[in-house]
C-alpha cells in the first residue's frame, strides 16, 4: 500500500509568511508580548477586537502550513481531512468544556494552563531555546513572528466554540 508521507518540517510553515494582522485592525491588535492572562490561564481580551471567522478557523486548524492542529488532535468535524494525530485530546466538545477566553489562552500559550504540555504556544515570540529560521535548521535572525497571527488565533477560537 502506498502511504502519503507528510513531513514534520512543513507542520507549521505558516508563521513565516502570515505575520500580524494588518490595516485598520492593526491599531487594536494585542501584540504577543502584551497578552494578559488571568489567574485561570484564560485571555479575556480579544486579540483583534473583532469576532473571529469560524470557517477560516477550521481552515487554519486543518491546514498543514497554518495551525495544523490535526497533527496532534482528532476533530470529528474535520473528518474529511486525512491523518489526525493522537498526541493531544479529541477536540470534539471543546466549545462546551472551555470558555472563549480559556480557549484563547490555550492557543496563545497552552503552558500557562497545562504546565509542561507539548502543545506549542501559537502566539508567543520570546523565550525560545535555539530558535531556528522556520524549518531550515539555521539560526533565526531578526524579528520573531508567532506561529499564528492575531486574526488566525481569533478565527480558531471562533471555530472551537462551534464544537459543541
Amino acid at each position: 500500500m502506498k502511504r502519503t508521507k507528510i513531513t514534520l518540517a512543513v507542520l507549521f510553515a505558516g508563521a513565516a509568511i502570515t505575520g500580524m494582522a494588518s490595516g485598520i485592525a492593526a491599531a487594536e491588535t494585542v501584540a504577543p508580548s502584551a497578552v494578559v492572562f488571568n489567574e485561570d490561564g484564560a485571555v479575556e481580551q480579544s486579540l483583534t477586537g473583532a469576532p473571529g471567522d469560524a470557517t477560516e478557523g477550521a481552515k487554519v486548524a486543518s491546514t498543514k502550513s497554518m495551525g495544523n492542529c490535526v497533527a496532534c488532535h482528532e476533530i470529528t468535524d474535520l473528518a474529511d481531512v486525512p491523518f489526525h494525530g493522537e498526541v493531544g485530546p479529541l477536540l470534539d466538545g471543546a466549545g462546551d468544556r472551555w470558555s472563549e477566553a480559556e480557549l484563547r489562552g490555550i492557543l496563545v500559550n497552552a503552558k500557562v494552563l497545562f504546565e509542561g504540555t507539548v502543545m506549542p504556544a501559537f502566539y508567543k515570540t520570546e523565550g525560545f531555546n535555539r530558535l531556528g529560521k522556520a524549518y531550515t535548521g539555521k539560526a533565526h535572525e531578526g524579528e520573531v513572528q508567532p506561529l499564528l497571527d492575531a486574526q488566525q488565533i481569533e478565527d480558531v477560537v471562533a471555530y472551537l466554540m462551534t464544537l459543541k
Binding site: M1, L8, F83, E86
Partner: protein, 282 residues
C-alpha cells in the same frame, strides 16, 4: 503471517486515516535465522521514565517490517555489499586495506554494539564513524570520510550487519560518563519555536500518531537505516538533525560534540535491544 485483526484495530485508532500501522506483536527474524530482540526491559538508568524499550521496527507498517526480514528485500544491503569491496581495497600512503589489519569482516562482530565509547588514546568518546576515520588517517594514510556521508555510512552499515542480533551494550559509566550526561541533558532540552524535546515525542508520545507518522521511541539500534522516503542509508546524526530542525530550531551538525554525546545517550537507551542495522524505515 501477521495477525491481521491486531493490525486492523491499530488502524482504527488513527482517526480518519488509512495508515497501516504495525502489528505490535510481530517478531523480527532476519533471513530465517537472526532472531532480533525488538522489545525488552528498559536499562536500569531509565527506570524513572519507562519500563520497556522497543525497536523502531515494531512501529512500522507490515510492508516495511517485511522488507527487513530478508536481505534480498532489504535495499540497505546494496550499500553493505559496496562497503565490503571497500573493506578489501588498499588505500592511502600506507597502501593498506581494512582487511589487512582486521582480517575477515566477521572478526568485527560485536564491535558496533558498544559504540559510541571512550577512547583511551584520544581521551574522548568516539563514534564508530570517528573510529573508522582514525584508522583511515592514522593507519592507512588515507583521507577521512565526511560525517554521515556515503562511504562512511556504508562502512557503518557493513560493520553493523555483522553484529546483527547482538545486544546493544553501550557503557555509561567510567571516563565517558560526563559525555553521556551531556547527551542526556540534550535529550530532555526543549528547542525551537515548537518548544519540544526528544522526550516530548519519543518518550511521552511513542505509539501515538503525529499527523501521518506513528511515533516510535526514537531508538538507534537500527542505524544506519534505509528510508523509503529518500531511498538511501541514513545516519544517526542526520536523523537527529532532522528531528531538531522539525522543532523549528537551529540544529547541531553531524559530527558535532553535541550529537556525539546525544548518540551515546540515545544508544544507551537501547541497551538490550538487538543491533539491527541496516534496518528499513519509512
Amino acid at each position: 503471517m501477521k495477525n491481521g485483526i491486531a493490525a486492523l484495530l491499530a488502524v482504527s485508532t488513527a482517526f480518519g486515516a488509512s495508515v497501516a500501522t504495525a502489528d505490535e506483536s510481530a517478531e523480527l527474524i532476519v533471513n530465517g535465522e537472526i532472531e532480533m530482540v525488538t522489545r525488552t526491559a528498559a536499562p536500569a538508568h531509565m527506570s524513572d521514565s519507562m519500563d520497556e524499550v522497543i525497536s523502531g521496527w515494531v512501529f512500522r507498517s507490515d510492508q516495511t517490517q517485511e522488507m527487513q526480514q530478508d536481505d534480498f528485500d532489504n535495499p540497505g544491503m546494496i550499500w553493505v555489499e559496496s562497503a565490503m569491496e571497500t573493506w578489501e581495497t588498499a588505500e592511502g600512503t600506507e597502501n593498506k586495506s581494512c582487511a589487512d589489519c582486521h582480517g575477515d569482516i566477521e572478526e568485527m562482530a560485536g564491535v558496533k554494539a558498544t559504540y559510541p565509547k571512550w577512547n583511551e588514546g584520544a581521551e574522548k568518546v568516539v563514534t564508530l564513524q570517528m573510529q573508522v576515520n582514525d584508522c583511515r588517517e592514522n593507519r592507512m594514510g588515507a583521507e577521512a570520510w565526511g560525517y554521515d556521508k556515503g562511504p562512511a555510512i556504508d562502512m557503518e552499515a557493513l560493520l553493523s550487519s555483522v553484529s546483527r542480533g547482538m545486544p546493544v551494550n553501550v557503557a555509561i559509566d567510567g571516563p565517558g560518563q560526563s559525555t553521556w550526561e551531556m547527551g542526556k541533558e540534550l535529550y530532555y532540552s526543549r528547542t525551537g519555536q515548537l518548544d519540544l524535546s526528544c522526550a516530548s515525542c519519543h518518550e511521552e508520545n511513542y505509539g501515538n500518531m503525529i499527523r501521518a507518522d506513528h511515533l516510535s521511541q526514537g531508538q538507534i539500534n537500527g542505524f544506519p537505516t534505509y528510508r523509503l522516503k529518500n531511498a538511501k542509508l541514513n545516519g544517526v546524526h542526520s536523523r537527529f538533525k532532522g528531528c531538531v530542525r522539525d522543532t523549528r530550531a537551529e540544529t547541531f551538525s553531524p559530527g558535532s560534540d553535541e550529537f556525539i554525546a546525544l548518540e551515546m545517550y540515545v544508544a544507551s537507551r537501547g541497551n538490550g535491544l538487538s543491533v539491527e542495522g541496516p534496518s528499513v524505515r519509512n
